[in-house]
Symmetry: C2
Subunit: 131 residues, 2 copies
């Protein structure tokens, strides 16, 4: 058993923490989620992920490609055509990220209500002691 290394995201120096920092990110989450439905071209991703800039999209896609999460397939046509697709590894990541997306959409009402209650409470800013 050579690969018995203990990876732990809670450790400052563990490479898995750097990895977590990259995938626990809104742009990564949205890009991987839209690619979960199948391969897309650059502009198609850009259209689906509303508000992302070409710069951030290109950077994020290159990072994901480097990490083995997406593949980049470029066709030598004019105008250019490039397709991005999740790898097997990428699809395994799409599952928890899709769950996160569902959580955000499914619980936003509760979150908004909680915020309202928090902001309205008279003790806001102090005095929330017990006993």
């Amino acid at each position: 058993m050579a690969d018995e290394i203990e990876w732990n995201v809670l450790m400052r120096t563990c490479p898995s923490r750097t990895s977590l920092a990259e995938i626990a990110n809104k742009w990564t989450a949205m890009i991987v989620v839209v690619l979960g439905a199948g391969p897309l071209r650059f502009t198609q991703v850009r259209t689906r992920v509303d508000g992302i800039s070409a710069k951030v999209l290109a950077e994020t896609l290159r990072r994901l490609e480097r990490d083995g999460i997406v593949t980049r397939r470029s066709y030598d046509e004019m105008p250019p055509r490039v397709e991005y697709e999740l790898t097997t590894l990428g699809h395994s990541l799409a599952e928890p990220l899709e769950a996160l997306r569902r959580w955000a959409e499914g619980n936003i009402v509760q979150v908004l209500e909680a915020r309202e209650a928090y902001d309205l409470r008279p003790t806001s800013g102090g005095g929330r002691d017990l006993a």
Copy 2:
């Protein structure tokens, strides 16, 4: 059916996107994960989440409290004691975040290998066209 609003994180202006941006975050993920095992005091969280500063921890915990994800329970003792605990909503968030943590730790070897392969390939930086 009064609550048939369509929430969509892919829309720039949707509140659920702001929520996604807050939970798809390394500090949030780690804090929620460690609180998933049960309530903890401020210093206990700080010890478990290696490398987090008191400032960032306090800010993140207050944001999570405001969003209804954690509760803050302060005991009027000396020295002070404050316990943070996941709400039911928080526990439902802990599941996908724990999955993300497991992904990061379980696939870091593959990610590191992919990076190495990407960085070593002769075509690095261009010429990766097909057809």
